[in-house]
Symmetry: C2
Amino acid sequence: MPVSDAHRIQTSDLDTPPRLLLGPGPSNAHPRVLRALSNRQVGHLDPTFIHLMNEVQSLLKYAWQTENPVTIPVSGTGSAAMEAAVANTVESGDSVLVGCNGYFGERMVDMASRYGASVTRMEAAWGTAFDLETIRTAMESCRPQVLGLVHAETSTGARQPLEGVRDLCDEFDCLLIIDTVTSLGGVELFLDEWGVDAAYSGTQKCLSCPPGLGPLTLGPRVLERLEKRSRPVPNWYLDMSLVGKYWGSERTYHHTAPINMNYGLREALRLIAEEDLEARWERHRTNANLLWDGLADLGLSCHVDKEIRLPSLTTVRVPDGVDSGQVARTLLTEYNIEIAGGLGALAGKVWRVGLMGFNSRPENVMLLLAALKNVLHR
Amino acid sequence: MPVSDAHRIQTSDLDTPPRLLLGPGPSNAHPRVLRALSNRQVGHLDPTFIHLMNEVQSLLKYAWQTENPVTIPVSGTGSAAMEAAVANTVESGDSVLVGCNGYFGERMVDMASRYGASVTRMEAAWGTAFDLETIRTAMESCRPQVLGLVHAETSTGARQPLEGVRDLCDEFDCLLIIDTVTSLGGVELFLDEWGVDAAYSGTQKCLSCPPGLGPLTLGPRVLERLEKRSRPVPNWYLDMSLVGKYWGSERTYHHTAPINMNYGLREALRLIAEEDLEARWERHRTNANLLWDGLADLGLSCHVDKEIRLPSLTTVRVPDGVDSGQVARTLLTEYNIEIAGGLGALAGKVWRVGLMGFNSRPENVMLLLAALKNVLHR
């Protein structure tokens, strides 16, 4: 049979522009992480890879400040880790309460619904957070088995304080899932201290690794519930009762882990351990303050109150009469700087500026402020 | 609150041994692919990345010989693409017939069951294939909406001929899913000619790219059924009605694509287009024949009949009295050559030897044969 050449297109050598990625992610990977990606491969059951898997698990526990036995990178992006958190905690018929104060809360609602949960949406304005009284009232009315909150809302730049939430969850015998996609490696996180049962993240934000893996951690209460399930998790790829055995001491084959992406994640996590977690959080705060002061000097205001504003992601209000998309396009095409517009309720109303991981540096703040000044005042 | 250093382990620079990966995958990535991985990043909605996504889609169509509009890399490994194929074709209550003549047929049974299908297992000995009469008889008895066959069984090294299967599927109004994990880019594939409705693969076999993406293609009959579903696909991450819009002309945000892995896949697919698909298939056949002749000279026999033996993966019978695991371990530790043992019904009975993509070269065959001779005859 003859082979068709219809789709045998001509292509050129890969040659991408030198972008500075100051949007909501991906951020630029650290150069050491990029180099690690192209390291020669070993097999996914090779003793050297198994050693590397152990290192990745330990360093993830350090970054999240947790002792959770299942603390691994899911072989997909942050969204896959989010779905893994939902699929492994929620059973069909469960009552699930989700804090909806941004795009990623809404996504958790969609996911939990697909797993047959009866989902209650606890709503608040985009850019705000929930207080304990509001959470208690919502829990009293729907008596959830699972509470989902977004610690770092990538769509709004708001941080959800978590002190005191565990006590409520204990009162209602409820699991606590949190989204740390835009906080892990950049913003204070004390998972065990806060009594979080499940958390997930992505590699392409404050970890300074390209997208492609989704860190996930599950605590003892989740594992216990997983063991007692009446039916298997209705998702084979993300069933942690299978995946956990591959990453655990049994090393039972489940799927082939993304070898080179794990090389990159290991290097990214090593960089955190070298820098020291507290120093890294402090660096993110310092550079965010530089940005916020500079924005004020330009007459621009931030959408989120300073007390709950994420140092990793800032939403900047678009002044009246300014076309937000046009400004972002000009920054990209004239200066190779990527920032993003708003999502959902904030579309057209804000820009989203990320200072994440390797990119959280004063020179990036200065450059962005200078470029923004040029573009806005031309 | 003080940060705990309990998991802040000491690690050294990444330094992996120079393995020659001649097992069932991963195979060694092509050096150009490894270099592409560490290329500087752009954002996942950057115009340059959108152009790259189009190139990847075209080149995948070439490799699979299909015009299917949805032909994309799933942001997970081959197992995720397999689950995507199942989740997007099967609805709860459907009758699904799966050819079980190896490990990956069994996996499809597990997955389809989790999506609520009534699954019928069509069984045959591991290492054999199904003939049309057997398939017809099974279809008559269970009247399936979906038929799943493994074109290239990674656990046995057997190839499932597909000529004539479409006619049967038309007769029973049935979708045809095939597993091409170990054939795409190395073994003859004519998806459209064979009337395949959905196929999936992995990047770490004959494409010579590291693991981390799962090529998936869905034909018009699948997309039509997807549109008519009464309930959404019960898997958010792999719901192709959402993912397809991200890869399609709308570019609607769904998740952040693994940028650097897509750089690697693009380079891997370019290498196929440069080599020419027929030349590449021929190369795989030629080197497999070299291997098979050399094994015979060593007094070793192959488990699968030559007519349906995969050129990409050979199962070699372990001679009586030989410890298969010990031989594999010696090859790895003394010569840095990875081969694998058998799975399931073939555990302890065969070795699995892959000659995939970049690794399908005569010098690798010679080296393996020489090493195997040393280890077996010492």
